[in-house]
C-alpha cells in the first residue's frame, strides 16, 4: 500500500478534530458549557454526536476483523450495539435526563442520597472508561502500523495528544460539534469504499468467500458452528447479546451525552435517531469481513485480523483507487479512535475532577483554582493512565476487549439505573451490595481472561462472556438485600419518582410560582 494517501487522511482527520475543538473554545465560556454544552443541543445534532462518539475502533475495525476470523456468530456484535440503545431508550432515557444529574455518580447520589454509593460509582466509571479506552489506543497503533509501518506506540500517542488538545481546549461544547462531524465522516469513510468494492465484486463474477483452514466445510458461514475455537457457541451468543443490550446504558460516555439534551422528550427523540444512524453504519461493517474472505483469504504475515478493513481495498484493486480507498478507511478509523477516546476522556475526567481532584484542589489552593482548571488536570490524568496501560497490556481482539467493558457495565450500572428509575423499594444497602457483587464478579472474570487467556470448555465460556450469570446475580442481590432492609429506602423516593417520571408538560404549582 502506498502510505502517502493514508498519512494525508490521518493528518486531515486529526487537524479537523483539533480545529473544530479550537473553534469550540471561543464558544464555550462557562463550566456548564464544558460539561454538558449548556444542555442546548438539538436532538438531531446530539444524535449525530452520540453516533460519532459510540462508533469506536471496535465498530470500525473490530467487527469486520471478528467476522473475518470467527464467522457468522460475530454478526451479533453490531446487532447488540444497536439494540443496546433500544433498551436504553425504553428503560431509562427520559427519566435519566429528568433526574438532572451529569454522571452516574450524580444520579446515584440524587436517587439514593448516599455519598458512599456515589464514590463506588465514581470508581466504576473510571474503571469502565479506562477498560474501553485501552482498545482505542491499541486500534490506533494497529491502524498507523498498517498504513505507515510505524511502531504500535505512535498511533496511540497521536490519539492521546489530539484528544487532550481538543478536550482541554473546548470541553463538551466543542466535543459535541466534533463528534457530530465525525459520525458523518465515519459513515462516508465506510460506505463509499463499500460501494466501490461491491462494484468490483459484481464485475469479478461474485467470487465466494474462501476459508483456507476448512476447505469444503461451511462452518465459517454458519451460526452456532463454533468456528474459530468458540466453545459452547449458544451460551456465548446469548451472553454476548445480554452484555451488549444491557451494557450500553452503563457506558460512561453514553450516559454523559444524555445530559446535553434539553429535556426528557428530547432525550427520547435523540435516542430514536441514534438507532437509525447506527443501523445505517452497521449494515456496511459485516461486508468487509465477508470480502476479506474473498480477496484476502491469507492475511499478510504478522498482521492482526482487525487490520482486514484497511488492507481490503488495496487487495481488491492494487491501483491508485485501492490506495485512495484505503486512505479513506484509515481516516475514518482515526475518526473512530479520536471521537470515542474524546467522549470517554470527557466523562472519566468529569468524574475524576468532581469526586477526586476538586475537593483536594480546593483544599490546596484555598478555593482559588477555577473548576475548569481542575477539569483539565483530570483530562490529562484520565487519558495518560490508559495509554500507559495499553503499552503494557496484552493484545485482545478490539471488539472482544470492548465486549468486556460492556459486560462490566451491564453487571453494575444497568441494575442500579433500571431499579433506580422504576422501583421505589430500592434501598441504599441493596444498591451498594449489587454494585459491589456485580462489579467484583465481572471484573474478576474479565481480568482473568485478559491476563491468563481463555481456558477450555465451560470455565472459558463462562469467564470470557460473564454477563449471562453476573447480571442476574446482581439484580437478585440488589432486590433481595433491598427487600431485607426496608428502613434504608431513602426518604425522598416519592419526590424523586415525580421528578423522574413527571412529564415536561406538567407544571407543578411550585414552578408556576403559586
Amino acid at each position: 500500500m502506498s502510505s502517502h494517501y493514508g498519512i494525508v487522511a490521518i493528518v486531515a482527520v486529526c487537524a479537523l478534530t483539533a480545529g473544530v475543538g479550537a473553534f469550540g473554545l471561543r464558544l464555550s465560556r462557562t463550566t456548564s458549557d464544558f460539561y454538558v454544552a449548556s444542555r442546548a443541543v438539538s436532538p438531531r445534532l446530539n444524535a449525530s454526536a452520540i453516533g460519532g462518539e459510540y462508533l469506536s475502533a471496535a465498530s470500525f475495525l473490530g467487527i469486520a476483523g471478528l467476522i473475518y476470523s470467527r464467522g457468522a456468530d460475530m454478526l451479533w456484535f453490531p446487532v447488540g450495539y444497536t439494540v443496546g440503545y433500544l433498551v436504553l431508550l425504553v428503560l431509562i432515557a427520559a427519566p435519566l435526563r429528568r433526574s438532572g444529574a451529569y454522571t452516574v455518580p450524580d444520579f446515584a447520589e440524587a436517587r439514593l442520597d448516599s455519598p458512599r454509593i456515589r464514590r463506588l460509582c465514581s470508581v466504576l466509571v473510571i474503571g469502565i472508561g479506562w477498560l474501553y479506552l485501552l482498545p482505542q489506543f491499541q486500534g490506533a497503533g494497529l491502524a498507523l502500523h498498517v498504513v505507515t509501518g510505524a511502531p504500535a506506540w505512535v498511533g496511540g500517542l497521536i490519539v492521546a495528544v489530539v484528544v487532550l488538545l481538543s478536550v482541554v481546549a473546548g470541553g463538551m461544547r466543542s466535543i459535541t460539534f466534533v463528534q457530530a462531524v465525525q459520525y458523518w465522516l465515519k459513515l462516508t469513510a465506510i460506505c463509499i469504499p463499500a460501494f466501490v468494492l461491491l462494484m468490483l465484486w459484481l464485475r469479478q463474477g461474485q467470487p465466494a468467500p474462501v476459508v483456507l483452514s476448512e476447505p469444503g466445510g461451511g462452518g465459517w458461514a454458519r451460526p452456532l458452528s463454533g468456528f474459530g475455537g468458540q466453545d459452547h457457541p449458544t451460551y456465548w451468543t446469548y451472553s454476548t447479546l445480554l452484555a451488549l443490550c444491557l451494557g450500553t446504558m452503563g457506558l460512561p460516555h453514553v450516559i454523559v451525552r444524555f445530559y446535553t439534551n434539553p429535556d426528557g422528550h428530547a432525550a427520547r427523540r435523540t435516542t430514536s435517531w441514534v438507532i437509525g444512524l447506527l443501523a445505517a453504519f452497521y449494515v456496511f461493517t459485516p461486508l468487509y469481513g465477508v470480502w476479506g474472505r474473498v480477496w484476502l483469504p491469507q492475511l499478510p504475515h504478522g498482521l492482526h485480523p482487525d487490520s482486514v478493513v484497511l488492507l481490503l481495498p488495496s487487495a481488491a484493486s492494487p491501483t491508485t483507487l485501492g490506495d485512495v480507498l484505503s486512505a479513506l478507511l484509515a481516516g475514518g478509523a482515526f475518526a473512530a479512535f479520536l471521537s470515542t477516546a474524546s467522549g470517554l476522556t470527557i466523562s472519566v475526567a468529569g468524574v475524576l475532577d468532581q469526586d477526586l481532584l476538586r475537593p483536594r484542589l480546593h483544599a490546596w489552593t484555598g478555593g482559588d483554582a477555577m473548576s475548569v482548571q481542575g477539569f483539565r488536570v483530570a483530562a490529562v490524568l484520565g487519558i495518560l493512565v490508559p495509554y500507559g496501560l495499553s503499552l503494557a497490556g496484552a493484545s485482545v481482539a478490539l471488539a472482544s476487549a470492548v465486549g468486556l467493558a460492556f459486560a462490566v457495565a451491564a453487571s453494575t450500572f444497568c441494575p442500579l439505573l433500571v431499579l433506580g428509575v422504576w422501583w421505589r423499594r430500592l434501598s441504599t444497602v441493596g444498591a451498594a451490595a449489587g454494585l459491589g457483587i456485580g462489579g467484583t464478579l465481572a471484573l474478576l472474570a474479565v481480568s482473568t481472561t485478559v491476563l491468563f487467556g481463555v481456558p477450555a470448555g465451560w470455565p472459558g465460556a463462562l469467564l470470557s462472556q460473564p454477563a449471562a450469570w453476573t447480571v442476574p446475580i446482581t439484580f437478585l442481590v440488589t432486590i433481595v438485600v433491598s427487600l431485607a432492609t426496608p428502613d434504608r429506602v431513602p426518604q425522598g423516593t416519592g419526590r424523586m419518582m415525580v421528578l423522574l417520571h413527571g412529564p415536561e408538560g406538567l407544571v407543578l404549582p411550585a414552578t408556576r410560582g403559586g
Binding site: L75, V79, L86, R222, S272, W422, V498, P503
Partner: protein, 131 residues
Amino acid sequence: MPVRATEPPDVPRRVRVTSPRRNAVVRGPQRPVTTDIREQTGLGELYMRSLVRAQLRLSLTVLAATAVVLCGLPLAFLLVPATQTVHVWRIPLPWLVLGAAVYPVVLAAARYYVRQAERLEREFVALVERQ
C-alpha cells in the same frame, strides 16, 4: 360628611343585590391535583403511580417483543438447522437477517415506543389539568 337638609324625591332607593343561593355551602379555594403531586399526598401518589405503571407496562411490552424476536433467532438456528444454510437472494439467511433485516425492526420498535410514551404523558397532563 355634609348633611343635606332635604332628600331629592326622584332618587331611587338603594337596593341590595345578593346571590340567590346564599345558603349554599361555601367552597374553599380550588386545589389542583398538581399540588397533590408536588406535596406527595395520597391522591398525588395515586396519580403518579398510575403514570409510572402505565409507562413501565409499555416499556416491558416493547422489551418483551424485542427479546422474543432476538432470542428466537439463535433458537431457530439451533432447532431448525436448515435455517443456517438456506439462501435467500443467494445470501445465507442468517447473514441477511442479522446483517440487515433486524435493523428496521429495531427502529420501528423505537419509533413505536417514543410515540406511545409521549401519548401516555400527554394524556396524563390533560387528566391532571382537567381536575
